[in-house]
Amino acid sequence: MKKEDVPQDAGKLGGLLELAYVVSASGAYTTVQSSGWVAKNVANDLVWEELGRHQETALREVKEGLKSPLAYHMVRFQMNEEMLADYTRFSRRKIRRHLTPDGFRALEPDDLRRYADSFNIKVDELCTTP
């Protein structure tokens, strides 16, 4: 990539400038800061849109009483059962139970705290959805 071709397409990186290795007119490598590239922004936007969709689906399932609020927060924090098991040290079987409204209602305060701590949120927030 030539120095004059370095894209400056600011995306959602919030003003973060990254370093690009580019070739100057003399053929020597140098570095230039770049605020982003449209190709990458498109990819990122699509991935975030997909994550948003997952969240909406999870939220709807919680509202319809099919799943517990934990299911929504799991998706919101981009986790799956396996990762949540890693964070909380609950078995996946237990987690699957806690993802149902009945299983979640039966949780002890200590267990709720384990989930809340894993997400870095308060227990109150864990028990509600927007």
Partner: protein, 340 residues
């Protein structure tokens, strides 16, 4: 609040880099007195690689990577330069944080492997569960750590609670509090020899591993996967797969075109150090290949956005990937011949 008793600021030169790990490696070594730049650290540490493994999922997508395993650049560069390193992992987060404080108190900046997701200074758009990020801690002020994150242009601070969470992020490639630093710098370091060995390792990984997922074979494998996506997946999922490849190739930390430009910079820098002008010519070729990779990303992006221009389809992207694979195969064979 300013409390001098609770403040440690070690001298540390923050230099922004494209790739977190080669940046941390170069910055730590330079601080210890070894004159390394980011491209040299990357090249000696054999950071460049390619693999595409559809059955290892990261965030639900097949893993496509343009680099070798996390932690490898630092360890490998140290090994080839003959520098003993100390690297530790911890079971107990409390102990891990206490140890960090101890190192800072003894005047030693250290590198950490962390999960990006829990780092508060990253923009929200970059918060993914990616656990192989690297940074240097060079001080502490009250409850905040002073951090040189080489992907940023300036040093930042991070609360101890957040850093603790980031050091003990869970999931694939969990850092488990990993902390590392170069131990004792030997009196004589043979940088040219290390460069040569770094190049040879990179070459043999790219062309000599007889596995379909690795090196140039991996690029061909990705090409054949790309061809199948529109038939195998629904339209949206196919686009998401492409988006994932673009992100791995261009997302912050590769220096552009999946590290190919960083490697080009390395070869150019190595040429005079080894007295081998031919390496500068090789640098031109890998740069040209990097430009083809960028074309892959651009075309993929147009498909992702459903704004294709004439000739944009999955087959044409696969064709470009095969072109990359063929050229890289020739490139690494030639490079190996030059340095053997």
């Amino acid at each position: 609040m300013h409390d001098p008793v609770n403040e440690i600021v070690l001298p540390f030169e923050h230099r922004q880099s494209a790739h977190c790990e080669s940046g941390v490696t170069a910055n730590l070594f330079r601080q210890a007195g070894v004159p390394l730049t980011e491209p040299l650290a990357f090249g000696i540490g054999s950071g460049l690689f390619f693999f595409h493994k559809p059955f290892i999922k990261m965030g639900g997508y097949p893993l496509t990577a343009f680099r070798y395993l996390p932690g490898h650049v630092f360890r490998r560069a140290a090994k080839l330069l003959g520098i003993p390193v100390c690297a530790k992992q911890y079971r107990d987060p409390g102990l891990a944080m206490a140890d960090l404080d101890r190192f800072l108190a003894s005047g030693r900046p250290v590198g950490l492997q962390v999960g990006v997701y829990w780092l508060p200074y990253f923009p929200p758009a970059l918060r993914f569960h990616f656990n192989a990020h690297n940074l240097v801690v060079y001080g502490k002020r009250g409850d905040d750590y002073l951090i040189s994150d080489p992907t940023l242009d300036v040093p930042v601070v991070c609360s101890s609670a957040a850093l603790r969470k980031a050091r003990f992020a869970k999931g694939i490639m969990a850092p488990r509090g990993c902390l590392y630093y170069p131990d004792k710098i030997p009196p004589a370091i043979d940088i040219p020899l290390a460069i040569r060995r770094g190049i040879l390792k990179t070459c043999s990984r790219m062309v000599d591993i007889p596995m379909p997922f690795l090196g140039v074979r991996g690029i061909r494998y990705l090409a054949s996967s790309v061809r199948k996506w529109p038939k195998k997946l629904n339209e949206r999922d196919a686009r998401l797969q492409l988006a994932q490849v673009i992100r791995m190739q261009e997302e912050i930390g590769t220096g552009g075109a999946g590290f190919r430009f960083l490697f080009g910079a390395f070869l150019q820098e190595a040429a005079p150090l080894l007295g081998m002008p031919a390496l500068a010519g090789m640098s031109v070729e890998i740069t040209a290949i990097g430009d083809v990779w960028r074309e892959v990303a651009l075309r993929s992006a147009r498909l992702c956005k459903q704004r294709p221009v004439a000739g944009d389809d999955y087959d044409s992207i696969a064709g470009l990937l095969l072109q990359c694979a063929d050229r890289e195969e020739q490139f690494f064979k030639d490079l190996k011949g030059l340095c053997a």
